[in-house]
């Protein structure tokens, strides 16, 4: 990679977190679940699974979604209710001293509000929601109106890298001076459409997924939403508040290899990480933990191991890493946002949650994947890395820093 402009003087600080997963709503429910090494994966209840090779997923209890209210479109879509539930746990607008024109929103998703659109196509009957709500970008527009954001409002949709891109682009908006605060994150709702699609690719595990385990046989789908409130650091500290973490670097890169299979060498992911490290102005030796994409498919996990070996060399075998997809499933457009949120919690709380489902580490993935029980994060670690890889070959990486 050539020499590039270094980081601007403004800093994107993480000041608040909100998350909804199959463990329930809220940061503590999520943290308790992943820290305990539990899996929220269970038999699917939302649609019949008899036609499929798998019958499990990580579903969110209906009670953990935002209630329909007069501030939402009526009746609201399931996607809106999920995204709003996480967003409302992240930001209290009245406590955020930022002008509407300086407040942005970046949302990552693979399906957006298209679930209702699919229902309409499949049933041939009129949708129960307004058609304009059943689009990719409808959730962001509704959410922006709810939280009073009048700066840039973007929907990012790059398959399973969407959430990571959203946080990275959100941090850019702060760092380049376009916004003083950005709500950045992602969401996706479990649907039969996606379940059937991944099964047609023979990508689903018959049981809960086991990332980096020798016996892994595929991924397990989940659903979720997570948001990070990003603010310009100086303004936060002027108010006497301490950031939870800093988004120090962001990078993306195309595999340029295949639409569904990752590049076996992991070179696209390695380019994305290298770009994020350059953006953070640090070297790979300064990374002390990696939140991997870790889907539990044979190809993905091996690709990541190759990428991390090329980036970190022999140290990859001693660098703590984990995957949360055996716990909350693969939440697609939400995954990168949930994992960025996890990284902020790891830095704040000094503990690395274990990888649910990992019992026999795959010798062909020679990484130090944390399994079994939590592991302390040494105080000396200042930077952690979160990565995502997606269909169509999009890779993305974030570097988060201990404030």
């Amino acid at each position: 990679m050539g020499e590039r402009a270094r980081g601007p003087s403004r800093t994107a600080a993480v000041t608040s977190l909100g998350v909804v997963t199959a463990f329930g709503a809220g940061v503590e429910a999520f943290w308790k679940g992943v820290l305990g090494g539990r899996s929220a994966i269970a038999p699917v209840t939302r649609f019949p699974v008899s036609p499929y090779r798998s019958g499990v997923a990580a579903e969110i209890p209906a009670g953990d979604l935002a209630p329909e209210s007069d501030r939402l479109a009526t009746p609201s879509t399931s996607a809106m209710r999920l995204a709003f539930a996480a967003a409302r746990k992240t930001v209290e607008r009245e406590r955020l001293p930022v002008a509407p024109e300086r407040f942005g929103l970046v949302v990552g998703t693979t399906m957006g509000g298209n679930g209702e659109f699919i229902d309409w196509v499949r049933s041939g009957t009129a949708p129960s929601t307004r058609r304009s709500d059943a689009t990719l970008f409808s959730v962001a527009s509704a959410l922006a109106a709810e939280i009073g954001a009048r700066g840039p409002v973007l929907t990012v949709s790059a398959a399973c890298a969407s959430g990571t891109l959203a946080v990275g682009i959100g941090a850019d908006l702060i760092r380049r001076g376009e916004c003083d605060a950005v709500l950045a994150g992602g969401f996706d709702v479990l649907s039969e459409f996606v379940f059937a699609g991944f099964d047609s690719l023979r990508a689903l595990s018959s049981s809960a997924s086991r990332p980096f385990d020798r016996r892994r046989d595929g991924l397990t789908l989940g659903e979720g939403a997570a948001f990070l409130l990003l603010e310009e650091r100086a303004g936060v500290e002027e108010r006497g508040r301490a950031p939870l973490a800093i988004v120090r670097g962001y990078g993306s890169a195309a595999d340029a290899h295949h639409m569904t299979r990752p590049s076996p060498s992991g070179e696209g992911l390695a380019r994305a990480v290298s770009s994020a490290l350059a953006d953070a102005s640090i070297g790979p030796e300064e990374i002390g933990f990696v939140s991997t994409h870790g889907t539990g498919t044979v190809f993905n996990d091996r690709m990541e191991a190759c990428a991390f070996r090329s980036l970190f060399g022999e140290r990859a075998a001693r660098l703590p890493a984990n995957s949360i997809k055996g716990a909350v499933g693969h939440t697609l457009g939400a995954a990168g946002a949930i994992e960025a949120l996890l990284c902020a919690l790891v830095l704040e709380r000094g503990v690395i949650p274990p990888t649910a489902g990992l019992e026999e580490p795959d010798p062909l993935c020679p990484l130090d994947v944390v399994g079994g029980s939590p592991r302390p994060l040494p105080d000396s670690v200042r930077y952690v890395l979160s990565t995502s890889s997606a269909f169509a070959g999009t890779n993305a990486a974030l570097v988060l820093e201990r404030p």
Partner: protein
């Protein structure tokens, strides 16, 4: 305000289906096009537009992938074409073995990024923005940022939309009610792209620069028009008398004294490709000498607004 003073337009590409939906003649491209048969309307429109812009920019296909070349594409509905087809297949199949994994693989909205990256060896930054009708303009703004900040030496950035017959049915039921330059023509497949590159120390007199850009959210149309007019007004000293390219016919409150070309009236409903089509036309207008500057105005009824200002170094 976002400034991108040193980003020049190195190439443009435009791909529009006919009014009745027929595809234009396929250009000869210096890349493997065997994957075209797997692409849906959205992916084809973006692939052709992006490829044409790369040809015009004189960029050859790269092997191994070049980490300095990026791709950013925008859309409103993305792969809805494949999404509809896979949904119909799901409804008519009795077992998962009857479903097409290749079709499901096309139901992500970053397929244009993936296809262009594979064909051309674009190994640099890759982002996909799906913010409704501003998607294409958003992608150009974001692509310029990636160049300006040194993350890429060049980025192919644009917008694409593919229109399934069911989407036309949708449009017929929610036909726009009208407005300045609004179109009654049905939606059509469209792709448009710019190759944005570092202008270096001194831009040539024949260059077109993406001089400034901004984006904001304003669901109230009159307030959106006020903010857009204010932003354009701030740049008038530099841009003199810019030609406005109204991509989406949704900002009727702009001052009527400003010369305006309505993309929607000329080309019909282009959804997320509209801003990128308008950007290509803006560059053509400046290159032809008909104007020294042009501002693309793009808005989605949901609230997003994106403005792009193009100039030639001759301006001012």
């Amino acid at each position: 305000m976002t400034t991108a003073r040193e980003v020049r337009v190195a190439g443009t590409g435009l791909w529009l289906s006919g009014r009745e939906g027929g595809e234009p003649a396929r250009p000869r491209l210096p890349v493997d096009v065997s994957r075209l048969r797997r692409m849906d309307r959205f992916a084809r429109a973006g692939f052709f537009a992006g490829s044409l812009s790369l040809v015009e920019a004189g960029i050859d296909p790269r092997r191994p992938p070049d980490p300095t070349l990026g791709v950013v594409f925008g859309t409103a509905h993305g792969c809805r074409d494949s999404l509809i087809d896979f949904t119909l297949e799901l409804g008519s199949s009795e077992s998962v073995e009857q479903l097409s994994p290749a079709l499901f693989a096309e139901t992500v909205h970053n397929t244009v990024n993936g296809e262009l990256a594979i064909a051309w060896g674009l190994g640099g930054p890759s982002e996909t923005i799906a913010s409704g009708r501003t998607g294409g303009a958003d992608a150009i703004l974001r692509g310029a940022e990636l160049v300006r900040t040194g993350r890429a030496a060049a980025v192919v950035a644009g917008g694409a939309e593919g229109i399934h017959p069911k989407a036309v049915e949708w449009w017929e039921q929610e036909r726009p009610s009208g407005g300045r330059g609004s179109s009654s023509a049905a939606p059509r497949d469209a792709g448009a792209a710019l190759v944005l590159a570092d202008a270096g120390e001194e831009a040539g007199a024949g260059d077109v620069l993406l001089s400034s850009a901004t984006w904001f959210f304003e669901p109230d149309p009159s307030e959106a028009a006020r903010r857009a007019a204010s932003w354009i007004g701030e740049g008038l000293d530099r841009w003199k008398r810019p030609l406005l390219l109204d991509a989406t016919a949704d900002l009727g409150g702009l001052p009527s004294a400003w010369e305006c070309r309505s993309v929607a009236a000329e080309f019909g409903e282009l959804y997320g490709a509209a801003g990128a089509v308008a950007a290509v036309l803006a560059v053509e207008e400046i290159r032809s000498g008909r104007t020294g500057s042009a501002v693309v105005v793009s808005r989605d009824p949901g609230g997003p607004v994106t403005l792009l200002a193009f100039v030639t170094p001759r301006t001012g």
